[in-house]
């Protein structure tokens, strides 16, 4: 039976915090030098940032996809640093920040279920804990800034190799001003049983978050990383532009799960890409709720024989929101296979878009791909678009794509209401059922949270 919360305020609180250093609004080369200096970065990183800034200035805004005209690059804080150093112990974390995390339910989740937590509050890791047995196995789980300091060689070898700064305007922006994010290295044949998680929040008005995550799963290893977001509500637009790079070596497996619920004024423009080597497996599980505009297409490059990729995404677009999501798979080697499953829900004038690409180059024999996108539209004011592209240069392949768009059936509603459910409850139940194939793959506590978020989104949707 569904419970009605009817209380939307649960996810729209904010806590007063004192930032140690907040950059001026707007971006220039001096600010980038200042960020790099404050972080005491090596020179190559400063040069990398400055080069990326040059690219950012020359690249045009994307002229496809969502409407990005509301972004004012001069009205954004590019760097905020809440503390001097990321701290390892929970006791050292300032009380206001703890308070915010308490509201998010982090400590319980962490104590009960999770091995390690990288909690991103504003631009930097404030709290980082890593279960001892993981550290013993040689697993590195640090903020990206610490990763650069503590493991310079490993870091330099992989950083920027999957998503180069020239990839797109927002990848260039992130490369210039990145701060925070997670750096994870899993050594050969190490399997991390429990999901690792990081919580992200934006907590100062007009503050951009440009976190940068780099995950390297060495041969035969496996890891499940969970990123969850619930951001407080703000009065003016915020920009979130992350870059996630993942390297999945021979025989390794990486699952990257995102649950995102940005407040309705956030532009969420994220570049996520994984490189999968021989017999490796990469899974993106991406749930997008909230935000004003989301443009996010997790990608997988299947680079060596036998690599497998899977992208599952769920998008919920409500009033004033545009979820432009999807996935890309590029088959560069024989015997590779991939699956893309996308489900989107549009409500109350919201717009959801699936945008995808499947590419098979010549010589990539015996490739198998399946793409399924389903859309559910809850009212006449909403909009749903599908833009899939299949570019196949090899004969020996099996590529299938299908899509359906539908509204909630009168029959289904009538049946549920005849069983005693109110119209809103019935609609919520149908939406939950539609989303379930994706939701049920989430870790249990996240599945519960997501179902609750879906129910919250559905309150007031009827009548």
């Amino acid at each position: 039976m569904l419970t009605q919360t009817g209380d939307n305020t649960a996810f729209s609180f904010r806590t007063k915090t004192k930032s140690f250093f907040t950059s001026q609004k707007g971006l220039n080369a001096d600010l980038i030098r200042e960020i790099s200096r404050q972080k005491s970065e090596p020179e190559w990183m400063l040069n990398f940032r400055l080069r990326a800034y040059e690219i950012f200035l020359t690249k045009k805004m994307p002229n496809w996809g969502a409407n990005l005209t509301g972004i004012d690059f001069d009205n954004i804080h590019y760097y905020v640093r809440p503390q001097d150093k990321a701290k390892r112990s929970w006791d050292d974390v300032p009380p206001e920040i703890k308070d915010t995390f308490d509201k998010l339910g982090i400590p319980e989740a962490e104590r009960k279920f999770l091995a390690g937590t990288g909690a991103q509050f504003e631009s930097e890791m404030v709290y980082h804990s890593l279960a001892e047995n993981l550290a013993k196995q040689g697993v590195i789980f640090e903020s990206t800034d610490d990763g650069l300091k503590n493991h310079p060689e490993l870091f330099k070898k992989y950083f920027g190799t999957v998503v180069p700064p020239g990839d797109n305007k927002f990848a260039a922006l992130n490369s210039a001003v990145w701060s925070g994010g997670s750096f994870i290295y899993v050594p050969k044949n190490v399997h991390i049983e429990l999901p690792l998680q990081a919580y992200f929040r934006i907590n100062i008005e007009n503050m951009g978050q440009f976190e940068r995550t780099l995950i390297i799963a060495d041969e035969g290893s496996s890891i499940h990383y969970v990123e969850g977001c619930t951001a407080p509500t703000y009065s003016s637009d915020s920009l979130h532009s992350a870059v996630v790079e993942i390297i999945v070596k021979k025989g390794a497996r990486v699952q990257y799960t995102t649950i995102q619920n940005w407040s309705g004024n956030v532009y969420n423009l994220v570049t996520k890409r994984a490189m999968a080597y021989e017999n490796a497996e990469m899974v993106w599980l991406d749930c997008n709720l909230g935000s004003k505009v989301t443009m996010k297409y997790p990608s997988i490059i299947l680079r060596e024989r036998g690599a497998k990729g899977e992208i599952q995404s769920l998008a919920f677009a409500s009033k004033g929101q545009h979820q432009d999501a999807g996935g890309k798979v590029i088959h560069l080697a024989p015997d590779t296979s991939s699956t893309i499953i996308s489900k989107s829900i549009s409500k109350n004038g919201g717009r959801s878009t699936y945008r995808g690409l499947v590419k098979v180059i010549k010589g990539a024999k015996n490739v198998k791909t399946r793409v399924v996108c389903d859309a559910l539209m809850l009212d006449p004011a909403s909009r749903s678009d599908t833009y899939p592209t299949m570019d196949i240069k090899e004969e020996d392949v099996a590529i299938a794509h299908e899509a359906t768009v539908a509204s909630i059936g009168e029959d289904e509603l009538f049946y549920l209401m005849s069983r005693g459910l109110a119209e809103e409850q019935a609609a919520t139940l149908i939406v939950n059922g539609f989303a379930n194939p994706i939701v049920r793959q989430l870790p249990m506590e996240y599945a519960v949270e997501l179902n609750r978020l879906l129910a919250l989104e559905m309150t007031g949707s009827v009548g």
Binding site: K362, A375, M377, L378, D379, P380, S382, R383, S384, D385, T386, Y387, P388, T389, M390, D391, I392, K393, E394, E395, D396, V397, A398, I399, A400, H401, E402, A403, T404, V405, A406, S407
Partner: protein, 206 residues
Amino acid sequence: MKKILFLNTIPNKTIVLKNNEELTIVGLITNGWEGIRHLTIKAMGRGAACKCIFFILGTNNSSYSAKIEAIHAAPQTQIKARIRSVLTDKSSCGIEGAWSIEKKASGADTYFAHHTLLLSQGASAKTAPFLEIKTDDVKAGHAASVGKVDGDALFYLLSRGLSEQQARALLVQGFFETELAAIENEKIKDTIRVAVTTFLSKEKHE
């Protein structure tokens, strides 16, 4: 009133359908072209219906590229396109389907499918079935696939004593036959069947 249009290419053209107008467009396409053809189908009147069935037989190094745009601009309209292409040699086929259902087009019923069979190493296909839907009371779907002749099916036919050419011809005929059922004109059906057979025997000699 029902009309059938039988074409040998994808034309650069805009077709406008009025109230309750029903049109079937059948294309049997064997010669390629340069650049991208642009066919637009607009259902402007209530109850207008259009069925597009294209068969593309790609040979040599020809290219078959087209953008087919379908606009549902009135209630209770139907635009359905089914395209099947069989590609040999270094032929390539790129079809972009741009389907849109406007706000006033409630009750629209729309479908786009492009299935491609690649018969040679050098053939390539690109498919982009785009769908934009601005109202909820619709039935919409699209499908696409790219593949080669099914190895198991081929093996089965060979084990029954057919030559490889005969077996492949049969499978390609089967690939087309599913769409032929929707055509109500027997003469057109026969023309297409003959074209498939001659196309495959030509393929063998080259």
